[in-house]
């Protein structure tokens, strides 16, 4: 199956800004059943793209726009081939728990076991687990499958209720959220069980008629959990499926903040407005900017130097 992906991000500022430095996690991976056929990024204003591979093996692009500008856009286009993969088993042997608790396994997957950032367990999470009767069952695979389903059932899909970097408590108390929230909650629970779990940022070829809840014009996020004898298995609690041929992986991290699709800073006293559009199509469909660009809330903050920074400067510890 071939997909073509177009991902457009546009910042508009209400006053001229300068020295924007941007960082992108937008290149689909080329590993396993996923093959990257082509990829390109263009920016406006034009800039030289630099790239490196981060410590999780993700491709990171970055660029800067030193001069004055009032709009900045990034357009990434990729073509990806997805091969069918064998479906993971319904369950694994219950000795898998022992393998997971082995210090060597835990050491190897330290980063994906530790409570971190947005995936930190909270009292509210504990209440939620108790209330819904969610817990470990016979083996890790069955436990995760049930968890995936339980999260799908417990939460309504509702854009605009949470931010990309909201703590899990926001979604837990509202019982609503989007893919990032569900992924963070699932990760927190899985890690609590001793199952290494990681955040996956990517794209979904959405099939609304197939029961998907995800908005088709957004980036997607789901979870990969390490199951002994199976390796990393993708779970998508937003859509109550296991990640498969329609899930195009871009980056993995401990949580959203490790791998935001686009992040940046700029100088200048301005507010920014962000618009994002994503289209994943199985064929090279005609693409027009206007019919799929939509405005979301501002998410980029200026780095400014105000007198109150005195406190910041003082805040640094003296050794």
């Amino acid at each position: 199956m071939f997909y073509s992906i177009r991902h457009l991000t546009r910042y508009r500022y209400d006053a001229p800004v300068r020295e924007s430095v941007m960082q992108l996690y937008v290149q689909p991976k080329s590993e396993g059943v996923q093959r990257l056929q082509s990829f390109q990024v263009s920016t406006q204003p034009r800039a030289a793209l630099q790239a490196y591979t981060d410590h999780f093996g993700n491709a990171v692009y970055h660029f800067d726009v030193p001069g004055s500008h009032q709009e900045l856009s990034v357009e990434a286009e990729a073509e990806v081939e997805m091969q069918a993969s064998a479906a993971p088993p319904e369950w694994v042997d219950d000795s898998a728990w022992a393998i997971l608790s082995d210090p060597r396994t835990r050491g190897e997957h330290y980063d994906m076991l530790e409570n971190h950032g947005l995936t930190r367990a909270t009292p509210l999470l504990q209440d939620f687990l108790t209330e819904r009767g969610i817990g470990k069952v016979a083996d890790p695979m069955s436990s995760l499958r049930r968890l995936n389903q339980a999260l799908f059932a417990a939460f309504a899909y509702a854009p605009e209720e949470t931010d990309v970097d909201s703590p899990i408590d926001v979604a837990l108390s509202k019982r609503k959220g989007v893919c990032q929230d569900f992924a963070h909650i699932m990760i927190a629970i899985a890690r609590g069980w001793g199952v290494p779990a990681r955040y996956v940022s990517g794209y979904l070829y959405t099939r609304r008629d197939g029961g998907d809840r995800s908005a088709p014009d957004a980036t997607h996020a789901w979870v990969e959990a390490f199951v002994p004898n199976c390796g990393w298995v993708g779970f998508d609690p937003t859509n109550n499926v296991l990640a498969g041929e329609r899930h195009i992986r871009v980056a993995i991290g401990r949580d959203y903040s490790d791998v935001p699709p686009v992040r940046g800073v700029f100088k200048g006293p301005a507010n920014s407005e962000l618009a994002v559009a994503v289209r994943v199509s199985p064929a090279k469909a005609p693409r027009r900017r206007d019919d799929f660009l939509r405005v979301v809330r501002p998410m980029m903050k200026p780095v400014s130097r105000a007198p109150e920074n005195a406190a910041d400067e003082q805040h640094q510890q003296q050794q």
């Binding site: 300068r18 030289a48 030193p66 001069g67 004055s68």
Partner: protein, 320 residues
């Protein structure tokens, strides 16, 4: 030289010039009061607040001595000597590694003395000697600067700041004495009389130098000629503008010549108006307009220096 550092040196010099000017204007005025009737004195203080506290002259009130104290010691007033010295020192701290130890020692000592717990007592006992001492200390700083710091680019930024500030301060002070009063000060003030002309000369450290040129014959027209057009007197506008024009050539060595064009054009135009100006024409015509255009030109020169050397946009300078 780092742009931020040049900016700090420039502002350090401006604040010091401002403090020195304030100290002298206040000291001379307080002394002159002894020879004037109380009413005259109170009215004439409008010229002092108009020259020093502007544009916050409304905030300074009370008896002459109250006004003088506020303009000297009030930490909250943006134009007080206290504030100017503090800001000068803050800027000096920014460039501590660049200025000489002697310079830092002098400005720091002065700052500490002004902030000592007994300052207001010393002030109250003898305000005029207090102000004289402040002015002397600031002159000393200028001397230390000239003889201990390399006369490199940083020094030129200091000179530029000093003379841009000075040209504006003198122009403003003259504006309060010649022609109509500036619109932003109370208008019920009599035209200056003999005493006040002498006071004006002294406030510009010009009395003795003036007498050498014009003898003790005190007249507004000669005073205007001296303080505006004299090419050799350091507190004349023309002298200051000559220095400004010279200093511009030393900024940003190696920078593309195009970047200083705007500042040089402005300074050249201002200089020409002083080189070829005539005091009779001014006195007969629009001396207010002239003095205000001097102040406006200085502001424009300041802005164009900032745009060219300090706050410039980097994109055309970077390799692509």
């Amino acid at each position: 030289m780092l742009s931020r550092v040049a900016d700090a040196l420039y502002w350090m010099a401006r604040y010091l010039e401002r403090a020195e000017h304030s100290a002298r204007v206040l000291a001379v005025k307080l002394e002159a009061m002894l020879d004037q009737t109380p009413d005259d004195a109170a009215e004439a203080w409008i010229r002092v607040t108009g020259a020093l506290a502007w544009p916050m002259s409304e905030d300074v009130k009370g008896s002459p001595i109250d006004i003088a104290q506020q303009l000297t010691l009030d930490k909250a007033h943006a134009s007080s000597i206290m504030t100017s010295v503090r800001l000068a020192r803050d800027n000096a701290r920014q460039v501590r590694e660049l200025i000489s130890t002697e310079m830092w020692g002098q400005i720091n000592r002065q700052y500490l003395r002004l902030n000592a717990s007994d300052t207001s007592l010393i002030w109250a006992a003898q305000p005029v000697p207090f102000l004289r001492r402040v002015a002397d200390d600031l002159l000393l700083f200028a001397g230390i600067t000239d003889s201990t710091m390399r006369h490199g680019e940083g020094w030129h930024f200091i000179q530029l700041g000093r003379y841009i500030e000075r040209a504006q301060l003198i122009a403003r002070l003259l504006d309060l004495h010649f022609g109509a009063l500036p619109p932003d000060v109370p208008q019920h003030v009599r035209a200056p009389r003999y005493f006040e002309w002498i006071t004006l000369l002294k406030q510009a450290t010009a009395f003795e130098a003036y007498c050498k040129v014009y003898t003790a014959d005190i007249g507004p027209s000669q005073i205007a000629e001296f303080l505006i057009f004299d090419p050799e007197f350091p507190h004349s506008i023309r002298f200051a503008v000559d220095r400004i024009q010279e200093e511009l050539g030393f900024l940003g060595p190696g920078a593309a010549a195009g970047r200083r064009v705007q500042a040089e054009r402005l300074a050249g135009r201002l200089k020409a108006s002083l080189d070829y100006g005539q005091v009779d024409e001014l006195m007969a015509g629009d001396i207010d307009g002239f003095l205000r255009s001097v102040q406006a030109s200085c502001k424009q020169i300041h802005q164009s220096v900032f745009d060219a050397f300090i706050g410039y946009s980097v994109d055309e300078l970077l390799p692509s």
